[in-house]
Symmetry: C2
Subunit: 284 residues, 2 copies
């Protein structure tokens, strides 16, 4: 099967590596708009061939959209238009974006809607670009299929096979629910890390102190603050309502904590920590 991947960054590049070496793709075609990324992807051999957007859609059996969600929302209807214009009824397109409501709505009434499968492979690191691509990135992680009932059976089965090859745990969910849940367990973590980095950078004028003193705990909590704006601005914009709700709860919890500390109320601090400790039982 010929797999075309648009965007050879962390997600697209890692898919390219594993789909090829695990035999799902006979050929991987890559599309990369950024010339520096394209040169790196070529040098790293992420795809068998770097091609134009049009060529990729014309030649691939499955097209994977792995670009920031703002761009993806415009690209998806165009790809389905092209499938339709070419009478290519067996071709499939998937996206890998972290927000699903808007992209799913963008093609809800498209006559070729069945050829699109909305997915969110929940894997990644705080790095981006082709140099962040790595083998085994997806192994064991969750992949959410959103509004799977709107895809054709055949397209769905093929894409399930693709993610099986990537060793992902498949989960099915309505797109709106997806956006609520990811606001809680993924998007908010990024916002809190960004805010933590801003706080420390603001307060610690002397960067040497941060470097010297940063414990492992600080590093892991602030890790996501390295994440790139190109990916996160559209996510935070598209999932605005859900994220604002989670942020409001979060700010409330911080204020609870602040009050308990300000009052020196040790019992209350203790019970807040015990409550937070419950996360232990949920995360292995």
């Amino acid at each position: 099967m010929i797999v075309g991947i648009i965007g050879l960054g962390l997600i697209g590049g890692s898919m390219a590596i594993d789909l090829k070496r695990r035999g799902f793709a006979t050929t991987v075609l890559g599309v990369e708009a950024d010339p520096v990324h394209a040169a790196a992807a070529e040098k790293m051999g992420l795809a068998d061939e770097l091609v134009s957007y049009e060529d990729c859609i014309g030649r691939s059996d499955i097209v994977v959209i792995a670009v920031p969600v703002g761009t993806a929302v415009k690209m998806l209807p165009d790809i389905l238009d092209r499938f339709q214009a070419a009478g290519a009824r067996d071709k499939i397109v998937i996206d890998t974006c972290s927000t699903k409501s808007r992209i799913v709505r963008s093609v809800h009434y498209h006559p070729s809607r069945g050829q699109y499968v909305a997915t969110h492979p929940m894997a990644g690191t705080e790095y981006s670009g082709p140099w962040a691509a790595m083998p085994n990135l997806f192994d064991g992680r969750a992949c959410i299929f959103a509004n799977a009932e709107e895809s054709s059976d055949k397209a769905l089965r093929t894409v399930e096979r693709l993610y099986d090859v990537l060793n992902m745990r498949l989960t099915y969910m309505n797109a709106d629910n997806h956006d609520v849940h990811t606001a809680y367990v993924s998007h908010i973590s990024h916002v809190t890390s960004f805010a933590l980095a801003l706080t420390v950078l603001d307060k610690e004028r002397d960067e040497k102190h941060i470097f010297d003193l940063a414990s492992g705990g600080f590093s892991s909590t602030v890790r996501l603050a390295k994440s790139n704006a190109e990916m996160w601005v559209p996510i935070l914009t598209q999932n605005r309502d859900n994220i604002l709700q989670v942020m409001d709860t979060y700010i409330e919890k911080m204020k609870d904590f602040r009050e308990a500390i300000a009052e020196g109320d040790q019992d209350r601090i203790e019970s807040l920590i015990h409550e937070a400790n419950r996360i232990k039982k949920i995360l292995r």
Copy 2:
């Protein structure tokens, strides 16, 4: 040299392991008040011998206080009293606590002050108890010496040697400055993690969703929320003023972010993320 360690948890237990196997301690005496922890420490062989508090002080050349800072503040003057009463002028006591202003003040005028060295080895994990102890925990991390000029030269040199054996990077600092800096680069990370755990637990009634969907990013950001109350209540209480100041800045940053997202102001979100990204250059 006989090293007595009071509190065989994550820090005390890990010190016991490395000081013994690296030859600094000929004998490690352990004191452990919690009977379950004591039984585990004994079974794990963390110390050569489990002894009473009094025995430990009587027999050790160096006493290491590795208990939560609330207890440590009461224990330290008592130990110096006992050194004095016994005419034991060559014995040394150190503490390993995460806040330093109060403990240093508690013995400022003690006639045996010189025999105490205030240290904060900045290493750890989110786990606690003797089962959390591990070899090589301290390698390469920072160890802060607070108000080193109040310790006798001889005590200081011996304790520097102890931390050299643990492969730590030694840093010297005034106790009050220590508490300011650790509020920024360590204590606040714990508070933000606790608040994140509380938020997600509050919002996601269905724990299965958290488990299924939690990405690596969420896990690392929330990791510190597993930290235990016994250790953290006294830290947050003792370092209250500094922590409140950092929390206020943090809440401001969250509100900036919230406003930018609420207004859909992509340029502002982008510039906040770019600013936060600067943390990349500081943390390797």
